[in-house]
């Protein structure tokens, strides 16, 4: 049953030998010790486990590891480049767009994918695009503000 699966994680090639049916979330967190990706519900409701696969936001708790074979996976640990925060990360810091921070990695990666698809979203489009990510601390207002500012700063350079 075990297979060797290779993919790129945060720009580095990785290989895991595991059951291909396992969910990416657990492979990332356990096998690869990348714990920035969070478990919130395990059934694709909350978005805490969001990662980017080829730039698209996916719920890693509901994505089999076999699906990322030879693909490019980005987790929250890989978003900052050369020690510089991604504009969305920076905007979350500048707007205090978090409290406990547990939803934050999923929020940021969802927002990064959203801005890639739609570099100049309206406030309503941001709200619609983020609607399936849950934040129990209710930092919603500031998350929307942060994404709006990040969009303005990125000027379309997703």
């Amino acid at each position: 049953m075990l297979e060797t699966i290779s993919f790129k994680l945060n720009n580095k090639p990785v290989q895991v030998r595991t059951d291909p049916k396992r969910m990416l979330l657990w492979v990332l967190r356990t096998d690869l010790h990348q714990t920035g990706t969070k478990f919130g519900c395990g059934e694709a409701y909350c978005g805490a486990c969001t990662v980017l696969v080829e730039g698209v936001a996916v719920r890693s708790c509901f994505t089999r590891v076999s699906r990322v074979r030879n693909k490019e996976v980005t987790t929250i640990e890989g978003l900052a480049q050369d020690g510089k925060l991604h504009p969305v990360q920076q905007a979350f810091v500048d707007h205090d767009a978090l409290q406990c921070g547990f939803c934050t990695p999923g929020m940021i990666l969802t927002a990064v994918a959203l801005l890639k698809d739609n570099p100049h979203p309206t406030r309503e489009e941001i709200i619609a695009g983020m609607n399936d990510n849950f934040c129990r601390c209710a930092a919603h207002t500031r998350i929307v503000d942060a994404i709006q500012e990040a969009a303005a700063k990125m000027k379309g350079n997703a």
């Binding site: 356990t30 969070k38 900052a80 547990f102 601390c137 930092a139 500031r142």
Partner: protein
Amino acid sequence: MNPQDYLLLDFQDIHSLPEPAPDDPTLPALPECSPDSQPGPGTGLRRRDFLGRLGGGIIIFVSLTDLVRAAQEQRPRGRGRRGRGGTPSDFNAFLHIAGDGHVTCFTGKIEMGQGPITSLPQMLADELDAPLASVDIVMGDTARCPWDMGTFGSMTTRFFGPLLRAAAAEARSVLLELASESLKVPPSQLVASEGVIWDREDKSRRVTYGQLTKGRRIQKRLQGRPTLKTPDDFKIVGKPLLRRDSPDKVTGKAQYSGDIRLPGMLYASILRPPAHGAQLKSVDTNPCEQVEGARVVREGDLIAVLHELPDVAKATLEKVKTEWNVPKPTVDDKTIFDHLLKAAPQGRTVAQGGDLEEGEKAAAKQVDSSYLNSYVAHAPMETHTALAHLENGRMTVWASTQNPFGAQREIAGAIGFPPENVRVITPFVGGGFGGKTQNSQAVEAARLAKAVGKPVQVCRTREEEFFLDTFRPAAIVRIKSGIDGQGKIVFWDYDVAFAGERGAVQFYSIPNHRTTARPSGWTSDAHPFATGAWRAPGNNTNTFARESHIDMMAAAAGIDPIEFRLKNLTDAKMIRVLKTAADRFGWTSAKSPSKRGYGVACGIDSGTWVAAIAEVAVDAKSGRVQVKRVVAAQDMGLVINPEGARIQMEGCITMGLGYALSEEVHFQGGKILDTNFDTYELPLFSWLPNIETALIDSKEPPQGGGEPAIVVMGAVVANAIHDATGARLFQLPMTPERLQAAIAKLPA
């Protein structure tokens, strides 16, 4: 710090504290929301052990007695507040200035999003005249921090704050004395700022805190109360300041309990009953044996599957065959209120004045009604998680908990260790809201780690999180009241069952009144499952009932609801927050229902006065409510970090939409029907109103900010719905079905 570093700390020097002094009868009683019915013995460190470990520098420690005294002296007078504090221990806060000028404070409080990781160093730096960047904080580690009762009840700023400031003020005066010796200048001629002390007359004669501290070893217990700065002297407090933990939280570096990795660790999946009260008839774990690496552990009532991969542990547990005796359900989420009315415990009169009979006679109109609210879950995004590691007879547990010292005691009891051999470390906590004062996951992890001799992680699934939660209790409020011909409230008879007294006492000026509070029943078996403290416990229920009822009376009197409130208020703080909110909102007078969809509500919680006004749009056909705008004004005394305070208000308002509109636990007897977020609906981005917050400028002692603004959300939405439609909802949450039903009952 990484986990290995934590473990390097030697357990050898941990001993139990001397027996705490017997409770001082003059001290306020433990708050009702205490996670423990009795304050256990402190099991923190002995002073000398702790001091020894820190090495050189200046150490100031402060005792709880000082804390309580400080709290009592600083507590403002007024209504609606109860005594708090009263925990045992020898000392409760430390502050250490190292030889390089670096300042560290140690606290048993924890960071779960509410922000003390930023606000406590801010207070400390200001009082000490040290640069904020030089101040660090160590939180929630039972081996490094002094005993603490737990992080709840909005007490961190109010009661821990003064203590920490006192320690800082004492440290500052020690530094000034040292500088006076070294510079040969009387202390009165010295100026301290940003970690440097200089001679007022000759600025070149200066010395840094680091230089003064280096090579010394000064330990001081604070005696008496040092003079604290007045708000006018603050340079850092009162200024907006961004969270200090954000950089780690946006990069995935921040570690929560589930993120700690130890060599050889195993992940546990624990067998749970299908319903509370179910008895295990038979269990067959044989099918698990085919799974490589899976290990079944039976330890008393605990049956768990352990594996080095958490998902495999879970899948393996699903192979276990069980038979249960499930008791026949006698109540469900619909019939629960009848049951609770019968089971309601004896009440206590918590406020009384005038003569109710006289009041009834004076009433031109009487308004009576009852208010209900359902069970509500805490549902933090991080489920209860813990990692336990047994080494050399000592148990270390990383736990998502709101009370690490309570967890330490529970774990010690469960595994038969003396508390001093149990260390609880609290990494970042992914939300608590009261639910993480319950620590069963930490106890389970420790029991399993002890059973298998390897580190074991327990991380609840979302289904377990709902099943094992201590829900906010369903509650019932009954109010009888009357107004005279001029719109003055002449009597008020209030009876609350299962929410307790927090927020029960009304603050209007009513000549004849009585408030009866029956307990929340957290520890009774009236509820079919466990209940407990939920953000601002009791007050959400009480404020929903009181402020809905005030609106009913305003409507009966034919008076605008804000005018009606002002007519019946003499409390200057409440009048001020209400007027501030009304001004900001742009309120114009109209009696309800005005069809505008405007609502108002006032409340007091944790020493903070709050008023909110909302605008809603109601789709009468679907019964859906969109809250479009919320303006909230708050008087919370001196505001330590205005940015932090606003964030907490916004969080309260947004989170409060959940219990107002959708959140309710569905159940049949002890079976919890909600297993995930499909049926248990949290507030979403698309619900987001425009939120405007106003903080009243005040120099009074700082009050709680993490809870107050949530208490008004039920009533402010209910009143706005009534204003929009004429329909009055008496039960939370105000779901589309309930609203449709209420609208259908309106006269055509």
